[in-house]
């Protein structure tokens, strides 16, 4: 079956051969590792730069989804990988479950119910990628071949290199867009792929690009954030932010360049990364990110970057200046799909969303979904629809093979065969005609992907945590589940309104706890799981306001206290809010100290001395 072409980047024969060669290169490395010719330490950075980690019980694969964009054909292959390859042996799976059960009993504090481990599953990440937890390493080269068959790979999804580039999930469709960031994201993806000089940086380097007035890509939280905007003369350029990041030292990236002509973006990033490669610390991985360098030496860093940028022009003649021809070639691939262009405005008799006569409960459900999961589109007749992967009984962002296939069906039928992975771990359908909304709602409901909770408390972000991740200090999924269960009443969640709740199982912050209006961070004290709660963080979106890390509420809480604390904090909010005032605004108006007092009053027991303060 020939699937309709999505309006996304289409691989050239060169692109295709390149990732096939990359898959072959990885197979050779894997073979040498198995033959004992490559040690574990020498194989490690090679497998990492192809997305292969070693986790608590099994390898983990992170598949790159450049700027979050996927075709239905790619979704189907991701489903196949979940079904056929995310399958540990019975012994391994039982062993892993037994070990996890021990954590539950060893930790007196962990009295909340713990969901069983799951397999045959894909997981959407906060960097718009897709992860698997159980693929055996000896199958890894086969999986890379399968991915390459649909123009996919795991290149630079890990390792100390320029990582997969993220963007606004509404790129090219948002009403508030100044310019589509995807052509630049794609050109930067190509430039950064297997860059010879920048393959072994001091630490990972994450880039996010956005092109709208609202920052939906948390750009200030990245090593390098790019915001498209128009200069005084009307020309397109980037505001360049450098040195943001989460982890142990949460920092917001300052603006390094207010306006950079858009075609200079590679030249400028080359200068930034070269200066970082030279001066970034290599003696301590916790101080190796560019944010530490910027915090300590921002002025000097900026001077060196300017000098290097000038040399790239004067001495190298700026060979990576983006040509009009290349920009036009790439931009053409992101144009509005033919089907949408021909439909737009044609069905003019439909002035409103089609809503067949529905009674009571059903009508109410559709209305809620329209309000919560459907957003305005740059085209009048179209809507942006978010499929919710936040529902009871499954971890945030988890998708079974069947659910991925159902999502593929929906995007083929309703959205020109295209979806976007969101940094909040859901899927967006970018091209839904308003006349189709009701049919789509029915189908999405049937598929279990229509919980009307987008942007609400239960649309929480959570990392895989201590159930799967070797780095985690504590489990995230049981906490996410206990909050989901406590707040299963949709009326209550709707009444609370928009809240960003972010959960990380360790200070690496994959669950973005620093940027949550409410953040939860797993910490380990004497081998037990505890949770630090922060309030008032922002990812830089309109709702949260200027990007900022949340402030810590006292010592950590035990797992079974967490839900109660969230409950008390939200009750205090609903008692103190002004009409239509969202949680984060009430928190800012009433003040952190009042909320902190409420949170601390919900403490049931005293935690041991806080390990995180050491």
């Amino acid at each position: 079956m020939v699937l309709p072409k999505s309006n996304m980047y289409q691989y050239t024969p060169f692109d295709r051969e390149f990732i096939r060669d990359r898959a072959l290169q990885f197979r050779d490395q894997l073979n040498r590792y198995h033959a004992g010719k490559l040690s574990s330490d020498e194989f490690k950075p090679l497998r990492l730069q192809n997305g292969w980690y070693v986790q608590r019980y099994a390898p983990m694969l992170r598949v790159a989804v450049p700027y979050g964009e996927l075709s239905s054909a790619q979704l189907r292959v991701l489903a196949t990988i979940a079904r056929e390859f995310d399958q540990p042996s019975k012994e391994l799976f039982e062993h892993a479950q037994a070990m996890q059960d021990k954590i539950g009993t060893a930790s007196s504090a962990a009295t909340i119910p713990s969901p069983r481990l799951v397999k045959g599953m894909a997981h959407f990440t906060t960097r718009q990628n897709v992860q698997y937890n159980w693929i055996p390493l000896d199958k890894s080269a086969d999986v890379m071949d399968l991915l390459a068959s649909v123009d996919m790979h795991g290149i630079q999804t890990s390792g100390n290199c320029i990582r997969n580039i993220t963007s606004d999930e509404r790129a090219g469709i948002a009403p508030d867009e100044i310019a589509d960031p995807r052509p630049y994201a794609e050109i930067l993806r190509q430039w950064s792929t297997l860059h010879p000089e920048f393959a072994y940086l001091p630490r990972k380097f994450k880039i996010a690009v956005t092109g709208s007035t609202e920052d939906r890509a948390a750009t200030a939280w990245h090593d390098l954030g790019l915001q498209l905007h128009k200069g005084k003369d009307g020309n397109l350029g980037f505001k360049v932010l450098v040195g943001g990041g989460m982890g142990r030292t949460p920092l917001i990236a300052p603006v390094l360049k207010e306006f950079l002509a858009a075609n200079e973006v590679i030249n400028y990033i080359e200068a930034v990364v070269r200066v970082y490669n030279r001066w970034g610390r290599r003696d301590n991985i916790y101080k190796a990110r560019i944010k530490i360098l910027i915090k300590a030496e921002r002025e000097r860093f900026a001077q060196e970057v300017d000098a290097e940028f000038e040399r790239i022009h004067k001495e190298d003649h700026a060979p990576h200046t983006i040509t009009d021809k290349e920009l036009a070639r790439v931009s053409a691939l992101f144009e509005v799909p033919e089907r949408v262009r021909s439909n737009q405005g044609v069905i003019s008799s439909l002035t409103s969303i089609e809503q067949p006569a529905l009674a009571g409960e059903l009508a109410n459900g559709f209305t809620r979904w329209l309000k919560q999961n459907v957003s305005a589109h740059k085209l009048d007749d179209y809507r942006i629809v978010t499929l919710s992967f936040k529902r009871r009984g499954q971890a945030p962002g988890d998708a079974t093979a069947e659910q991925l296939e159902l999502a593929a069906d929906l995007c083929e039928k309703f959205s020109c065969s295209e979806v976007r992975v969101t940094h909040a771990q859901n899927l967006v359908l970018p091209w839904v005609h308003k006349k189709d909304l009701h049919s789509l709602w029915l189908a999405a409901k049937e598929a279990g992907l229509a919980d009307p909770n987008i942007g609400l408390l239960t649309d929480m972000i959570a990392c895989p945590g201590g159930d799967y991740c070797a780095l985690a200090n504590a489990r995230s999924i049981p906490v996410a589940e206990s909050i989901t269960e406590r707040f299963k009443d949709l009326d209550e969640v709707l009444d609370i309104g928009p809240v960003d709740l972010h959960i990380s199982g360790c200070i690496n912050s994959c669950g973005h706890h620093h940027s949550g209006h409410i953040g939860i961070l797993g910490v380990d004290k004497d081998g037990q799981e505890w949770y630090q709660i922060t309030l008032g963080g922002s990812d830089g979106s309109n709702l949260g306001g200027v990007s900022t890390p949340g402030r810590v509420v006292g010592p950590s809480f035990s797992a079974h206290e967490v839900v109660g604390v969230i409950e008390e904090v939200l009750t205090f909010y609903t008692q103190n809010r002004l009409e239509l005032e969202p949680f984060i605004d009430t928190l800012k108006r009433v003040g952190f100290e009042s909320f902190k007092g409420v949170a601390n009053a919900a403490r049931l027991s005293r935690a041991p001395a806080d390990a995180m303060t050491s």
């Binding site: 000089e197 490669n277 030279r278």
Partner: protein, 129 residues
Amino acid sequence: MELNLYHLNASAPAPLKAGVVELSNDADPLELALEGVNSVRLYFPKFTDGRAFSQAVMLRKRRGFKGDICATGEVLIDQLIQMARTGFTSAELRADQDIEHGKRLLKHFKGFYQGDVINPKPAFARTDA
């Protein structure tokens, strides 16, 4: 530019000949005196330390250095492709490294996206020509 591969003789390291200089990992190649220098030895304290790649690029692009740039330290065959593309012309491999396999790895990819020392223009600018 060819990358000349040979094994490090760890038991009897050759003394530095005239015209050969070693540049330390944290030194600035823009300040290195190159008069009478035929070969610059750049050092990889660990194979995952990428500073010498930038140093080699600077020597080629900014200093116009035409002599030999040799990779020393922890030099493994899986990093040869990066070395060749950043301007190294020789590599002193650890004794256990398979040089023949390294030569095959150097030819593995048919092309790359970004410009490098060998081909300064990126693929998109080359197809313009």
